[in-house]
């Protein structure tokens, strides 16, 4: 059964395991030839992120091969309010300066 083999038990210890592209590192420890699960074909544009991308970002990767996912920072409600206050203060400062100059 494929699922049983995919989720095989943990069997050996390697304190500094490499990351492998195209090979399952535990093959020999699982009693298989080292190349038993070597991939046949082509692999391209492998990316690893330190967190979860959302569906929109994955869609971007699909539509833009070779590029990394765009960062779309979100602005909190407090951030929006603070930004509005800053814009008002900046506007007030400009008006005050013009009045003083006049």
């Amino acid at each position: 059964m494929a699922s049983a083999a995919l989720e095989s038990p943990f069997a050996y210890i390697d304190t500094n395991p490499p990351l492998s592209i195209g090979r399952w590192g535990a093959a020999e420890a699982q009693g298989e030839p080292a190349n038993a699960r070597d991939y046949l074909g082509r692999i391209d544009d492998v990316q690893i992120y330190d967190g979860a991308l959302d569906a929109e970002q994955v869609q971007f990767l699909f539509q833009n091969p070779g590029e990394t996912a765009r960062c779309v920072p979100t602005v909190s409600a407090w951030g929006m309010m603070a930004m509005a206050v800053l814009v008002l203060l900046a506007g007030g400062a400009v008006i005050a300066r013009r009045r003083a100059a006049a």
Binding site: R37, L40, G41, Y49, M80
Partner: protein, 235 residues
């Protein structure tokens, strides 16, 4: 010059703030081009701070393009090509060139890094099955010590299998992790030769959740226990 200097400082500040959070510069560069004035110099750093206060974005920390060799475009995790692994020269790639593996001793090995010990992460790659690849019962696209004692706590892998039980030659492909186990299997492996397919899996072990997309379509199915593991992380 004072204006330019302020704009440049703002540019550097914003780039630094976003880079720490997002690791991307493209949007920053576009925004920074408009930051030549004093107001821009003042507001952009503040905007960067405010914008980055809500939610932590995922950053890419490894990117193997396989255009020339197995180097990491982001610099930190260069790989070595093993066996007869090679880089294409015929443009048969999804972007630039691609890694060619013959299924017998060919793979890329990247030295261990704690960066790979992901509590939450996203794996994105493109693959195209070679001739007769559908005859392979099992294969691994990417593996960080899944199936070992060491990987019990933080190993993970992108694995595929021909599902003989259901007589499906295209089989399944998916993500499997060590403990806490998060498994996303179910997408058809699409090992037909001649076409590149995009695979992306994103997971968060803390929430025991993952979701997987093949060619931008959600293909995850509930995995073997524990479940639910195929709930999209972001809603």
């Amino acid at each position: 010059m004072a204006t330019w200097s302020g704009g440049r400082r703002a540019t550097l500040f914003v780039r630094g703030a976003y880079s720490r959070r997002c690791g991307l510069d493209n949007a920053i560069r576009r925004g920074a081009r408009h930051a030549h004035g004093r107001v821009g110099a003042m507001l952009l750093p503040l905007a960067a701070l405010l914008a980055s206060t809500d939610g932590v974005q995922a950053s890419p920390f490894a990117h193997w393009t396989f255009d020339v060799d197995a180097s990491d475009a982001l610099g930190a995790h260069p790989g070595a090509m093993m066996g007869n692994a090679s880089i294409s020269s015929d443009g048969g790639a999804i972007a630039g060139e691609a890694l060619i593996l013959d299924g017998d001793g060919d793979y890329v090995s990247i030295p261990y890094s704690s960066d790979f010990q992901l509590g939450a992460g996203t794996i994105s790659l493109w693959f195209r099955g070679g001739p007769n690849s559908q005859q392979r019962v099992f294969y691994a696209l990417l593996d960080f010590h899944h199936g070992s004692n060491h990987g019990a706590s933080h190993g993970w892998a992108i694995l595929g299998a021909r599902d003989e039980a259901q007589g499906q030659a295209e089989g399944r492909i998916g993500l499997a992790t060590g403990l806490p186990v998060v498994n996303c299997f179910g997408a058809k492996a699409l090992l037909d030769s001649g076409t590149f397919h995009h695979f992306a899996a994103t997971f968060n072990r803390a929430g025991a959740r993952c979701f997987m997309l093949m060619d931008s379509r959600w293909r995850a199915q509930p995995s073997n226990p524990p479940s639910p593991t195929s709930t999209p992380i972001h809603h």
